[in-house]
Amino acid sequence: MDSILSLKGLHKQYEKVTALHSIDLEIPRGTVFGLLGPNGAGKTSMIRMITHITMPDAGSLSFQFNNKSIKDPMNNIGYLPEERGLYPEMKIGEQLKFFAQMKGLSSKESEQNMNYWLERMDMKDWVSKKAQELSKGMQQLVQFVTCVIHKPELLILDEPFSGLDPINSERLKKEIIQLSKEGKTIIFSTHQMGQVEEMCDEIALINKGKIILEGDLKEIKNHFKKGVFEIRYNGTFPAEKTIDGFEIVQEAQGHAFISCLHQCSYSTLLKTLSDYVEIYSFTEILPSLHEIFIEQVTLAKEKAEAINE
């Protein structure tokens, strides 16, 4: 696999808490990678090590960037932390240039990149405004620009949508998708499962410093499917709930949920059902990421309790 970032045995211990237990993780190049987990799971600890803010106690991080001319990996990462802000009394133009130069760009390059992004985000009028004069939503868009202005290959966005109104939220989502199309790798940490399902290709679920689930989002969803189908039909099912290896979980006015009792294929299920009723539509219900998330976290908790006992 072509990874942009490999974590090997990454371990971090705070005084009494182990924030990360020897984590191994590959971030495939060009993907939108969702980093999920409950509060305090170790996501921020992991991100802070990737962004060189803190050092791991053990293990290593290695980056494989395409652009070999950038010596310092810090300069090829764009980071939008959850706790973020701007200098309230500095003009937007000055701030953007400052942040670009902090990422190793020359004064001229930062000016060019700034103009490019101001154009792209339709922010040209904001250049000479102070940050405190902008609304909170506008400030967040500026913050987003500060983390992409140096054109990094790897972007790390920690809860990028928190506090944004639906319009700005949509705008940011479009930008992220666009960046992904441009070949950037995006690590995306959030609690909002809906956005993850919409945008992410790969995910990793962290709980209590361990990765409990990881891989391609579609594969994961397939793996956790329960064999439940939603049908719309005309006619009536027989009174008994179980028919030839299927169970009718719920039915009302031509709308029912059917559950497979054993391994079953779509065709046998369809054939059996059409013996009783006329079928209009037939869909397999895939578990939502939300359900998987809760199920896995609860499972991990039960396991831990079982070990303790």
């Binding site: 060189h52 400052f98 942040f99």
Partner: protein, 429 residues
């Protein structure tokens, strides 16, 4: 371009461009100018005359009270109580009534100055002197002594202080040294506090505005801290240079245009009283006796490194706090040596070569203020060099400590940090 330099540039430019900086930098020399010219201006605008009625029952004071511009005496006769009542009337001719009763020359007393308001110190003193003089003269006459003869025999002695040095003799002047030492010491004290506070605010502000995480993902915290400390130091130096230039210009202007005027005043005063102008001229010429280049170099050195020494500590302090009320408790241990230095400084000008003065001018916590205060009195080379070396070493140690605290502190939110935590941070990897 190094990232430390980018931070340096940003910290420097945003501060120098601020209105408050420009106002303060210009205001201080203007205030200086005002302070210097105020006494002269005052004489221009001094108006208003105090009229004093004199009720002399003793009959001894008829020629004692001569009138001046600000003080006019009028001899009156009549009943004391009636005259007293007149003072509080709206259109009274007099603001005060001086009552001189018949008095015993051995035990003079009973002199009273009645007035509608509290009378000024100088007026009271001047009347007191006049009465005293007159009573003395009367006593001389009583004792059969010629007062003019006594005045003739009076003498005034000047004690000259020559400081013996290896390079030769130097005329010492305690007053100029003390003044210079206190002014420079106090200035240093003010600058350390002011700019220390500024750096602490700069660190806390970044934390408060939640920018710090973005910044430290671009630049290692230690480099960030250095950029801030140097940036604000450059602001301080800029301000200092502007002040020096302005104050020199003002002094030049002052000596060119104001001095002749002052001299006139001086001569007028001399005619009236007996102030020795020679001593003032001496005082001014004595400033030239100091080794000016050495003083300027040493002052600049202790100013810059004194600031750097403390600013590292203030940066560390700023990093562990995120609201201003907590700031105050954490600055107490930092303020103690600075305030202590100021207290020692007062003592130093009395005894510039006492063991207390010598040691406190060598120990880095006090040396930025004390050594500056000792400079005008002459400091042996070994003490100066030792103090400088220790201050630079102290700065390096402080920066290392502050860097450790800074690295962890700036990412801490909402947790009250105690000294025990800080001690632990110093020894983590």
């Amino acid at each position: 371009m190094s990232k430390t330099f980018i931070v340096f540039k940003k910290e420097y430019l945003t501060r120098v461009k601020k209105k408050s900086f420009i106002i303060m930098t210009l205001l201080v020399p203007i205030l200086m100018l005002l302070l210097m010219t105020l006494p002269v201006l005052m004489t221009f605008f001094k108006t208003g005359t105090t009229h004093v009625a004199v009720l002399d029952e003793s009959g001894e004071f008829s020629e004692v009270f001569d009138n001046s511009k600000s003080l006019q005496f009028h001899a009156v006769k009549g009943n004391l109580n009636e005259l007293k009542a007149k003072i509080n009337e709206k259109n009274a001719d007099y603001q005060a009534l001086l009552y001189i009763p018949k008095f015993d020359i051995q035990y003079p007393g009973g002199f009273v100055l009645y007035s509608d308001k509290q009378i000024g110190m100088s007026v009271q003193k001047s009347i007191e002197n006049k009465i005293q003089n007159r009573v003395e003269t009367l006593r001389f006459i009583n004792a059969g002594i010629d007062k003019d003869k006594v005045n003739e025999l009076k003498v005034s002695i000047d004690l000259e202080n020559i400081v013996l040095q290896e390079t030769g003799e130097k005329k010492g002047n305690a007053i100029v040294s003390i003044a210079l030492s206190q002014i420079m010491g106090f200035f240093q004290y003010f600058m350390i506090f002011f700019y220390g506070g500024l750096i602490m605010m700069a660190v806390t502000e970044e934390k408060k505005n939640r920018i710090v995480e973005i910044i430290v993902s671009s630049i290692p915290p230690f480099q960030l801290m250095l950029g801030k400390i140097y940036g604000i130091a450059a602001v301080a130096i800029t301000q200092l240079i502007i002040w020096i230039v302005f104050i020199s210009l003002i002094t030049m202007f002052f000596s060119m245009f104001m001095m002749p005027f002052m001299m006139e005043q001086q001569q007028a005063m001399e005619a009236a009283s007996s102030i020795d102008t020679q001593s003032i001229v001496d005082t001014i010429s004595n400033i030239e006796a100091f080794n000016i280049p050495l003083m300027v170099f040493a002052f600049s050195f202790f100013f810059i490194f004194g600031y750097l020494f403390y600013s590292a500590l203030f940066a560390g302090a700023g990093a562990v706090t995120d609201d201003s009320s907590q700031n105050q408790t954490i600055t107490i241990p930092l303020s103690i040596p600075i305030i202590l230095s100021l207290m020692i400084m007062v003592n130093v000008s009395e005894q510039p070569h006492s063991p207390l003065a010598i040691w406190s001018s060598i120990i880095p916590f006090c040396s930025p203020i004390i050594m500056i205060a000792r400079l005008p009195f002459g400091v042996p080379a070994w003490q100066l060099i030792l103090s400088m070396v220790l201050l630079v070493l102290g700065f390096m140690v402080n920066t290392w400590i502050a860097g450790k605290i800074y690295r962890i502190g700036i990412l801490m939110y909402g947790k009250k940090i105690n000294w025990n935590d800080i001690r632990k941070w110093l020894f983590v990897r």
